[in-house]
């Protein structure tokens, strides 16, 4: 029983971290109809900034969680104003090409700035070590923190979309951008804001993941594949879909790795194939159902 609880707990912390990262991708698609290939690179940028802040500047972890994602969001505002705004109204292929180019630029910039070495960030002193849970299982304190942060993000996002005016505006712009404009909603601001928000979420994921994973120039590429799997399984543009997809992928990694280690490589893709065969738009998908 202990091993199953451990595997489930593991699935939860993997899944919720993936949720924070993937939901940004889903939101950007839902509102802007853009698949941001550079989303993984923004996650990586968040992690590298966390490394520089914590190891380089000696900033405490809590301050870094506030500062680093905001810095990436500011960069995203620049990207939107200078590059993305030209392709929103064009055919999808153009925005795919642009965000892919952005991915390559960001990857190389990170490698030029921080070098090729593998870096390590320690969790803050308060969250180091393990804690003994029910059933006598030892679990790292930091992983529990990730579950907590994931939960906070989940609740926060739900409140944002359902209970605030900003959230309603985003959903309106997603459903029908022209109508929203007619109703004097400043869609330009909404567009930039949503793009920056997506980047903020990706970078937040990066900062939170930094103490758990090694920081290297390939981490952006690894996470974008995971994010795509999640949004395909859950449905592009769907917030509850992103949660469902992330939890399912977390389960596949956690349980699959623990009990089926021989075939763990293909499990996520098998899962994706099954979902696509049964529900081509994803489990909860149809675009703009935030």
């Amino acid at each position: 029983m202990g091993s199953l609880s451990l595997a489930l707990l593991n699935s939860l912390d993997i899944g919720l971290l993936l949720f924070i990262i993937a939901v940004g991708l889903s939101i950007v698609f839902g509102v802007l109809s853009v698949i941001n290939f550079a989303h993984g690179a923004l996650y990586m940028l968040g992690a590298y900034l966390a490394f520089s802040c914590i190891n380089g500047l000696g900033m405490p972890f809590w301050l870094t969680v506030l500062v680093a994602p905001l810095a990436v969001a500011a960069l995203a505002v620049l990207i939107d104003r200078l590059m993305m705004r030209f392709v929103y109204q064009r055919e999808p292929a153009d925005s795919l090409l642009l965000t892919f180019a952005l991915l390559l630029i960001l990857n190389e910039s990170v490698r030029l700035t921080w070098g090729t070495g593998i870096h390590v960030v320690e969790p803050p002193a308060l969250l180091q070590g393990t804690i003994t849970l029910f059933g006598g299982i030892q679990y790292p304190l930091y992983n529990l923190f990730v579950i907590a942060i994931g939960g906070v993000a989940l609740v926060g996002l739900w409140l944002l979309f359902n209970k605030t005016r900003v959230g309603k505006i985003m959903r309106a712009a997603a459903l029908d951008r022209d109508m929203a404009q007619v109703l004097c909603i400043n869609t330009r601001l909404v567009v930039t804001g949503v793009f920056a928000f997506g980047a903020w979420l990706a970078a937040l994921g990066g900062v939170v993941a930094a103490p758990m994973r090694s920081i290297d120039p390939g981490m952006g590429d690894k996470i974008i594949i995971e994010s795509f799997i999640i949004v395909v399984i859950g449905g592009l543009g769907s917030f509850p879909g992103a949660l469902l997809g992330a939890l399912i992928l977390g389960l596949i990694h956690g349980l699959g790795g623990r009990y089926l280690p021989q075939i763990n490589l293909m499990l996520p893709f098998v899962g994706m194939a099954i979902v696509l065969l049964l529900k081509p738009h994803g489990l909860m998908g149809r675009r703009a159902s935030l």
Binding site: T116, I118, V120, T130, N143, Q262, N264, L265
Partner: protein
Amino acid sequence: MRCVSLFRSVLALTAAVGLCATSAQAQDDDPIQIGAIYLMSGSAATYGKFAQQGIDMAIEEINGAGGVLGRPLAVHLEDSQGKAATAIQAARKLVYQDESDVLMGLDSSGVAQGLVPVLPELSKPFIITHAATPDVTGKLCNKYTYRISVNVHQNMSGAAEIAAKTGAKRWTTIGPDYAFGHQSWEFFGKYLKEKMPNAELMSEVAFPRFGAEDFTPFIDSVMASKPDGVLISVWGGDMVNFVRQANNRGFFKQGFEVLFTVGAATEVLTALGDQLPEGVWVGTRYWYGAHDNELNNKFVSGYKKRYGAPPSYNAEGAYMAVYAYKAAIEKAGKVDGDAIAQALSGLTIPAPTGQLTFRKGDNQALIGPTWGKTGAMNDADKIRSLTEMVTFDGQKITPPVDAACKL
């Protein structure tokens, strides 16, 4: 009309031939071009970077001493991106566009398996300095492909000896899910059975995908199966992730023997620092502190002075490949792909690891791995030091030529 155009084409042809002749003559002072293909981007980019540093240092030393046959050396570096198709494209570009005379490289075994069959088409020698799959000196061998670094057979033979000495009986593995991970386990098992017939190779094994970020499920699964020893072949960023997550799970306190097949890589040891626990066995193709001879001391101190860190095995392999080419070109007397490839066969050169010979039967260098147990932190170099070091003799540890290789 027809006569005029015929005359024109003959004129053009003559001019072209004339140009070719003059450009061939102008090559006497042109640099000898080395084409190198390494992982320059992605998670393992640091391995390619260190290889580049080894190459640059070798070229500077050789050019400073007068070059090769009076000509300086120059290098073009291409990124394999970890994909065979990209590496094949890069190799063709290096030969046809950059006019490389010799080639070297390859970190990934998967890439090597894809690129090696294409090499006879390019007719240039290729020295592999890192990729360890036995296939390139086995069923895929050809007269252009050489390997200067340790392969899986040699490393696993050494690992099996270390494992047999520990006395642990039940063995399992955690390795990346591609050629390197699977072949490491396959040959470790084979050699371990030869040295310790009552060893048990468990059926519960873990092969997380290469680049997996979360190893905890696999760590838990291996711990639950209660082995006596674990062979771990994850490398690079994966090994850094693995060790940190394993520490969290108390993996190293379970009392079983742990062998990291390529754990003594300075790229990884620098990132881990004291998080890699003492008392685990780590293997490597080359350890800077294991060879007390003039050549190694000069190499290590020169590298430290130039780059501020001890040389990794990737740097040493690349450094030696450049020197191997120097020796081969001087033996052949000319810069010609086929002649150099032939000159490399059976060649013996001095190296920081001792005398290095390319075996005639399969073009594999006869060198042995170095294995050691992690000890106290070496504060000067800021990584763990190795104790109980064993450097295996290349002549003795290398298994006979694979029957599938018919050179």
